[in-house]
Symmetry: C2
Subunit: 486 residues, 2 copies
Amino acid sequence: MRLVSDQSRQREYVREIASKRDDFPQWYTDVILKSEMMDYTPVRGCMVIRPYGYAVWERIQALLDVRLKATGHQNAYFPLFIPEGFLRREIEHFEGFNPEVAWVTHGGGEQLAERLAVRPTSETVICTMYAKWIQSYRDLPVLLNQWCNVVRWERSTRPFLRTTEFLWQEGHTVHRTEEEAEEETLLILDIYKDLIERELAIPIITGRKSEAEKFAGALRTYALEALMTDGQALQAGTSHNLGQHFAKVFEIKFLDADGQLKYPWQTSWAVTTRLLGGLVMVHGDERGLVMPPNVAPVQVVIVPIMPRETRDRVLAAASDIARSLGPDVRVRVDDREEQSPGWKFNEWELRGVPLRLEVGPRDIERDRVVVVRRLDGAKTEVPRGAVSRLVPEMLARLQQEMYAKALVYRDSRTKDVADLSELEDFLAAGGGFARVGWCGGDSCEAEVKQRTGATIRTLANEDPGSRRCLCCAAPAKQVAYMARAY
Amino acid sequence: MRLVSDQSRQREYVREIASKRDDFPQWYTDVILKSEMMDYTPVRGCMVIRPYGYAVWERIQALLDVRLKATGHQNAYFPLFIPEGFLRREIEHFEGFNPEVAWVTHGGGEQLAERLAVRPTSETVICTMYAKWIQSYRDLPVLLNQWCNVVRWERSTRPFLRTTEFLWQEGHTVHRTEEEAEEETLLILDIYKDLIERELAIPIITGRKSEAEKFAGALRTYALEALMTDGQALQAGTSHNLGQHFAKVFEIKFLDADGQLKYPWQTSWAVTTRLLGGLVMVHGDERGLVMPPNVAPVQVVIVPIMPRETRDRVLAAASDIARSLGPDVRVRVDDREEQSPGWKFNEWELRGVPLRLEVGPRDIERDRVVVVRRLDGAKTEVPRGAVSRLVPEMLARLQQEMYAKALVYRDSRTKDVADLSELEDFLAAGGGFARVGWCGGDSCEAEVKQRTGATIRTLANEDPGSRRCLCCAAPAKQVAYMARAY
């Protein structure tokens, strides 16, 4: 059977992607469409995640799931529908999400007595269960996670980054004390950072959100922020200390060891399919995607160069090399006959496959394989007997180099900025993370946003020293990273 | 950190489950609630799948996913919402599903111009994409699958078996010829049978559905039917040859090698979280769940018997044994101090853990471990040095014995039945699969259903010989398996 991704009809599109330098938004759309990561659908704001994109999501799921389970979290599944009354109970939460809710009003041919929200997030429905399950301090902590879909009715959408429906995991934990909840919130922040830096090769800045930017209903929100190669920031994940807000309105109480009835402390946290968009925007280049080996659906493609008379011999050698790489390397032999090697090179470059191995009759004679790195096009000849040892090493090195390259870029675009006019210049020159002093005032935060489009991405955990607020010039209370963001 | 499933508050419930023999429905509910596989929610017809139940689903997902990928299928993700106009295009399909649809009518604070169905199944939205993606015979076959949630507004619900929302995988494939589509339909039927028999230890009868029982919009439906221990059948999965019905209304066409524009042939197929209900009803006993080792979240529980003075030594030995089992055995050491060993035995029996290992000071002295099988309570003493070799063997044997036991039961409840009065007697005596002759007439099928509650579960692929229709006594055209069903 043939795979969809191996569809062999001639396509001319490989060279048709827009220039990343000249038109970043069009380049992004071209790359994700033409690499077949996703497609648009006729359903408003909803996309299809196609097999090549979904395979990356499956990798991310596996890599995160193992980390969550290793730290004692368990998966569960809660209902898609949330009765309106539940959603209304935590007022900040309701006001934050209500404008984005899709409502089910009819079911089974009848109008419902109460509207059902299609979950925009699941705190409220999960808290109704926690109120039932938690009675004693012995029931704590509760450490649950679910992998599911959520819906937020967005006015304007962009594939992966902002869609009406998206996929995510949402963790929801309950703790005996504030300290434990804070510890969990920061543990998750660390796990996310490790996942995104180590596996997606995307450097991360973590820190608290300002009050204006925090999750609706949370006590404190911590975020992970990454810098895209157009100078805009992407919020790559969030971890919220919910305090006792939800416990109080949902009446989750436990009898502590001291005989007192208390409200527990909660957290919630999520990463979403938007990570796929980040991956594209951080690593992609003029030729298309560049996949970090750890999440690449295909890590190595072997392209046989096969003039008719040597076809069988070359294909046999290619299969042989693929087998020699063992089950830990995701390898594909592109044995399609209708396409030329050059066409295949382009297609797998567009799809960002980290290593391409070329095998032709001359290579077989000389007992060698040509290895080409997607990251920089560097070519090496490798003795055939050394391929199974060298390829995993080259993949590991590529993974590190991709992170290092992204870090150099991020740091080159991170600058101290003193005031609004400097910020405007910085943004006009391409943007990035501006390190600024901030007085802590909502009005300064709002004014900067209104004038420049930049928002506080995170508050740095450091002393502002002699810095002054970039807006009002009062002594700064905090150091903030500001950027325009997706 | 403590796991939810290890919550330590004293519970008296282990002995409180209803008798399976006396009250099967209540027993079922008690077992799944008290083993913490699921819980009811205040959301109409929706349940929570709790970690212990969800872990079984994760096992089933992993075991099926690897089979689907090995046969060339790829995962993707399509939208949750289906505009009403799409759903209406295939009329049989629409009429079949319309009564069960939940409709979204408002989003982002506004009434929608067109209602959106929350997917009851995804043929229609997927076909709109296939019409775009498929142009040439070179694009075929398309072999996609998605793991997701679906919603069907059911009048009466039962956890796992029939809920408003449930989890499933749905495969959707497109082929060049009718033969290929039929081959795929039957390949999937085989994969499902292998999964359910080998991993869930549930014997399966496969066969075609009658016209009355087939999927709305399909050409032919094949089903997998299992027998529960209350004598009722459970449809455990279905595989549909959709023919060209959807291709024609969604205008999916391809240019074949002969230059002709043709409609392709499609299939769709699904298994759902109802398999968890089947697992409970096939294997459970008066003490609770009995988990087949291949899908058991915990395969081996080690219960240390630890009088205070030997506590550390016993715990060390227990951990040591757990480690010696290696990463391929899912093992848990129940080191909770608040519960007695007897209480723990009951709890893990309720949860159906296949093997219990008991380790106490005397066992340590004698260099042995007591191993107890959940299936029949059989106890063996195993030399400590042999545990790591014998436990995997015992698990493998248990898996086979559970299948064999279920097969013996199924066969003992499968009988040839000649006419309606015999069928009534058979059902009154506890039911099971009745093998009957059927004339093929809709009215006889309807009459039997109306009079006895039994339906045609599958049509056997065999010559009816001299059989007569159980209803009208005309010469039979087919042999059918009939049963009352969930």
